[in-house]
Amino acid sequence: MKKSLSIVLTLFGLLGISSTSFAADATLSAGDTAWMLTSTALVLFMTIPGLALFYGGMVRKKNVLGTMMQSFAITALVTIIWMVIGYSLAFAEGGSFVGGLSKMFLKDMTVSGLSGTIPESVFMTFQMTFAIITPALIAGAFADRMKFSAMLWFMGIWSIVVYSPITHWVWGPGGWLGGMGILDFAGGTVVHINAGVAGLVAALVLGKRLGYGKEAMPPHNLTLTIMGAAMLWVGWFGFNAGSELAADGRAGMAMVVTQVATAAAALGWMFAEWMSKGKPSVLGIASGAVAGLVAITPASGFVGPMGALAIGVVAGVVCFWAATSLKNMLGYDDSLDAFGVHAIGGIVGAILTGVFAVKDIGGTAGLLEGNPGQVWTQIIGVGATILYTAVASFIILKVVDVVIGLRVSDDQEREGLDLALHGERVE
């Protein structure tokens, strides 16, 4: 099968029929393709239903549908945006800052076109699932109070103006951070720092929920949340091991370190909470697992199991501190801790990738192998991502606020988004 396919592809190549824009010499690998089809489904599974359940369980009951609706609607919206322009801005040939428009509407995508050893259609869809989950993560920061229409406008513009360019910087052809040698295997900067910082900006621009700090706002159903966290954990194998874009040894190593770091962070958060607050909570261990998944994301594909263990422990404890202490110290209302978990976990992971990178695994040595410059490269990548997403997110939010308004009315907020915005409720 594999042989006959490659013969066919070679023939196409000789006849000049193939219109693939890159990797013209490559042949399709059935094994790689099968794994990437699977990974794509796994990553979509992270957003719907994973993230929808994770966030949905943490809000108050009057907002559960509105919160799950955000994940679901973002999935649909970003799919179309990615097809129309997002993929092109991220992955078409262009400058060092943003890709060109040559792949708009996927117009050159053919059934035989390849990206490396997999069909470009699979690569495009795999990347689409990353473009979907990133804005969906932001939604945790402004839960319970954003207008649905404003949310759609913000996410749509943000996907084009922030997500696609930063993806291009790191993974796109000619991207400047990629060219500098930043190590970001599966999206520590592109996905998590990007979403987490945008979330913090959104939480600050929108302001606190009514009654924040005075009224009790406990999660309404943590069974949904722990199921969602479990789905995120499972789906993340597609996210990290899939980011190798091949079914090979490095993908296997990415899988190992993902599992190890997640477990270490789950335990790290759990024990930190147990020691400082008296009880090991369900929300705590679930949050710790997600923090570990976030932190290992840039490092998977570059570090070994011991590096993963260290990254996991640090991420679990630091994110615990960020979500429980830092937030209260600074006084912002990041409702579901998009910043505390994703930005902080992403920063921890991105920088520690530069410390623990192993040359034999990913081809680049880290600090521990005598390459301190890599840490500096990672810090530049982190800083550039934070700066760009913070400024751009702020501007988009302000523009949307002026044009249609960001927040629901006080009455709507008290009534709950489910009834006020969607005319439905959960009993």
């Binding site: 009790a216 406990p218 999660p219 607050k277 705590g284 801790d337």
Partner: protein
């Protein structure tokens, strides 16, 4: 006729129901309620946000009985709902002017 209203711990409901049946109480009404008394509430902690929950779940039982049965009812509830720990609840007794069985129109003690 008297209305005996008791606030008890939820897990004691079956014991109380049995003890009331034994002394001949024909029917009771049960409501899930929340409230506070001398028993303190509890605290919940979610990612560092601490909530003090003042209102604890209790069960409210209401039974209308003949005057002669009131002391027995009080004794039965007191015994069966007792754990000896704080938060066992309280019993209140009210006078009842009239009772009517809707199906037959019987009234007074016959309707109980």
């Amino acid at each position: 006729m008297k209305l005996v209203m008791a606030i008890i711990k939820p897990f004691k409901l079956d014991d109380v129901r049995e003890s009331l049946s034994e002394i001949g109480v024909q029917g009771i009404t049960v409501t899930e309620v929340k409230g506070f008394g001398r028993q303190k509430g509890h605290t919940e902690l979610y990612r560092g946000a601490e909530y003090v929950v003042d209102f604890l779940p209790k069960v409210k039982i209401e039974a209308v009985v003949d005057d002669g049965l009131v002391d027995q009812v009080i004794e039965a509830i007191t015994k069966s709902a007792n754990t000896g720990k704080i938060g066992d609840g309280k019993i209140f007794v009210f006078g009842v002017e009239q009772a009517i069985r809707i199906r037959t129109g019987e009234s007074g003690a016959d309707a109980l």
